[in-house]
């Protein structure tokens, strides 16, 4: 039987038309199609309410003159205007820029250097890596408490150096309004730089070995190979690292609370502590909400380009 004509054009409607066969879907089929959606439904509902709904809610609150309790008397963008003319908010924002920039830059520098050094077939690499990364397992509160003690002007590092014989050494950043924000950088870098190292080390290990071998055959020296060949391959890792660190910086709350308490005065405040303080201690819910929205805007400004480029590169790939 040679059915050369087995592709009958448009004969289809003689047989089961679409609508008829659809009626025959039974319970099992329906269940199979809907179960996955049903399973996801609670999470989707929770996200809609607790994430998107709350974001909207906070935005609404930021447009009201809520003080100790939420009220729904709308005042337009007055809270944002107040916020932007509030000296403490300006200090907090400036601090975030200083803290964020230094935190990210130093973490990256240390992390990349350590990753490259560790990539040189080091003995006990596992143990060393474990030591570099353990601070990431700690709570920022613990980190803050530890560094508060280490940086304590009376009994901390200052005393150690003086005991070593440098009697005039002073290291009082913790209580110095101009320098307090830098103590946050120190503690933050200590906690997160090992993580950057881990990211880059993973990235280095994923670089195709043959590229490096080819570069070596071309006669390039090791530092040059890293600078010209390997590191350019790690741009995606750099990108993620910057994004994560920026995210940590913007959200930093516990570290400030435990290390400086925002002090002296409000010299080391960050937006996160500002928001908490105004919302829960100072009964300025409207302004607290406005500051939260500003933080969200900051995060979105970082995340959206990241996600966009990520999606685009995935489309291309």
């Amino acid at each position: 039987m040679n059915t050369r004509a087995s592709v009958q054009p448009r004969a289809g409607h003689l047989f089961a038309p679409n609508s008829a066969s659809r009626v025959r879907r039974n319970g099992a089929y329906w269940l199979q199609a809907w179960l996955p959606k049903l399973v996801l439904a609670p999470s989707v509902a929770a996200a809609l309410f607790f994430v998107y709904g709350f974001m909207l809610w906070t935005f609404v609150l930021s447009l009201t003159n809520s003080r100790m309790l939420p009220s729904y008397e709308f005042v337009g963008f007055a809270q944002y205007a107040r916020l932007l003319s509030n000296d403490r908010w300006l200090v907090a924002s400036t601090n975030l820029v200083i803290f964020g920039a230094l935190f990210i830059a130093i973490c990256l520098a240390i992390g990349i250097v350590l990753a490259i050094l560790l990539d040189q077939r080091i003995r006990h690499e596992g143990a060393i890596r474990t030591i570099y990364l353990y601070p990431m397992a700690l709570s920022f509160i613990v980190t803050g408490v530890a560094w508060k003690w280490i940086l304590n002007p009376g009994l901390g590092i200052q005393q150690v150096v003086r005991d070593w014989g440098w009697e005039s050494f002073t290291f009082d950043w913790l209580v110095n309004p101009d320098m307090a924000v830098y103590t946050l950088v120190i503690a933050g870098v200590w906690q997160a730089s090992g993580f950057v190292m881990a990211l880059f080390l993973a990235g280095l290990r994923a670089v195709d070995d043959s590229i490096i071998k080819a570069a070596q055959l071309d006669g390039a020296s090791l530092p040059r190979i890293y600078w010209r060949v390997v590191l350019p391959c790690l741009r995606p890792v750099l990108f993620s690292a910057v994004m994560i660190l920026a995210h940590i910086a913007i959200k930093s709350f516990d570290l400030v609370v435990a290390l400086t308490g925002g002090g002296p005065g409000y010299a080391s405040d960050l937006p996160a502590t500002f928001m908490y303080d105004f919302s829960f201690s100072r009964s300025q819910i409207g302004m607290g909400a406005a500051s939260a929205m500003m933080m969200l805007a900051g995060v979105l400004a970082i995340i959206v380009p990241y996600l966009y480029s990520e999606l685009r590169s995935r489309d291309r790939g």
Partner: protein, 372 residues
């Protein structure tokens, strides 16, 4: 009785039409092979039969029962996957018994079935191993065992041998053929290996761009292809397509190949000329000739009316052991020929050959469809 019937099945992914009105019917106990280039829709058709992919339109019947909108579980189908898809956390025994367990077969019966299937496939010593402890060939056997244990109406094989090395593939091919003969099962089998298709199939379905181009026995698909695509897809090296002009001369209808001033003429078998062919006289056609139909001269060739001598230059000679594949000049082109390994050929030689026109086919050069 038809074990599986596909009626006008259509499948769209968004705007891409993956299956366009595919219809075919498979008899109980038949071994059907779906072939086609990747992306032709054969795997989608397989998934539609299994119920893993809902169809856009059309219907599917298994054992004369409409199953278009039934879940895979309700279709009485077993499938052997390219990756074997053995459950990694279960032993071989549990893998084979899982389908029975899901169908609430009593434990004693399950165990008996596992033993029987294991014996049939010679995997009894492996029953308590995990899939990760098995070789590729052993996994392949277990995957088949899992399908056989359920005794479904239809078996689906999705390129089951393509992950095996060449030697094992030939062995398993024979084994599958034996199993089909002993169990009398209905099998739909997807492959891109045409040797598998030719050796295993009762019928072959050739697909391209979501369409079923030809459905026929291996012999029909090989010798009587519906168009140039099917002709070129089956057979290796594939069929020669030789540009020619259809002319009428003292022999009847002939094909003029090469320069217009001094063409090489091949008479088309008189028995196969049809009235339709007359319309093509004076026009350009494509002559399809399999390599084995251009071969060394034989005594019977001298006698046979459809066999014509050709002496031409050899440009390349590739001995394969069983025979020698040649590139030889024909007209202005080169074509593939196949000669016996006894021939002593060196490139550059002029070799006396013969062309067997009995199986020659003609195509429309524009629409690529079959003329005669």
């Amino acid at each position: 009785m038809s074990a599986l019937e596909i009626r006008n099945v259509r499948k769209d992914f968004g705007r891409t039409r993956v299956l366009r009105e595919v219809s075919l019917s498979i008899d109980s106990g038949e071994f059907l092979i779906l072939v086609g280039p990747s992306g032709c829709g054969k795997s989608t058709l397989m998934n539609a039969i299994a119920g893993l992919e809902p169809v856009t339109d059309g219907s599917i019947l298994i054992g004369n029962e409409e199953v278009t909108w039934r879940t895979p579980a309700e279709r009485d189908i077993a499938m052997v996957f390219q990756s074997y898809a053995l459950y990694p956390s279960m032993t071989v025994r549990q893998n084979i018994a899982f389908g029975l367990e899901m169908r609430k077969v009593p434990k004693a019966e399950r165990e008996a079935t596992v033993e029987r299937v294991a014996k049939l496939l010679q995997i009894t010593p492996l029953l308590d191993r995990k899939p990760s402890q098995l070789s590729g060939g052993q996994r392949q056997r277990v995957a088949m065992g899992r399908a056989i244990a359920r005794q479904p109406t239809v078996y689906l094989f999705d390129e089951p041998l393509s992950n095996l090395d060449a030697k094992l593939r030939v062995e398993m091919r024979t084994e599958i053929k034996k199993l089909h003969q002993t169990l009398g099962t209905t099998i739909v089998y997807v492959t891109h290996d045409q040797i598998e298709a030719m050796t295993l199939a009762d019928r072959i379905a050739v697909m391209r761009e979501g369409r079923l181009l030809q459905l026929g026995t291996p012999d029909e698909v090989y010798n009587d292809p519906v168009d140039m695509f099917v002709a070129s897809f089956m057979g290796s090296p594939s069929m020669n397509f030789i540009p020619a002009q259809l002319v009428r001369d003292e022999h009847g209808i002939s094909l003029a190949i090469g320069a217009a001033s001094d063409p090489y003429r091949l008479p088309f078998p008189a028995a196969r000329t049809t009235p339709d062919l007359d319309a093509w006289v004076g026009r350009r056609v494509v002559l399809g000739l399999r390599p084995e139909h251009i071969s060394e001269r034989t005594p019977w060739g001298e006698e046979d009316a459809n066999t014509h001598p050709l002496t031409t230059e050899v440009t390349v000679a590739e001995p394969t052991g069983a025979d020698i594949l040649l590139r030889v000049r024909l007209g202005e082109d080169e074509v593939n020929a196949r000669v016996s390994p006894k021939q002593n050929v060196t490139p550059g030689d002029r070799l006396p050959l013969q062309v067997d026109m009995a199986r020659a086919v003609l195509f429309d050069p524009e629409r690529e469809t079959r003329i005669a």
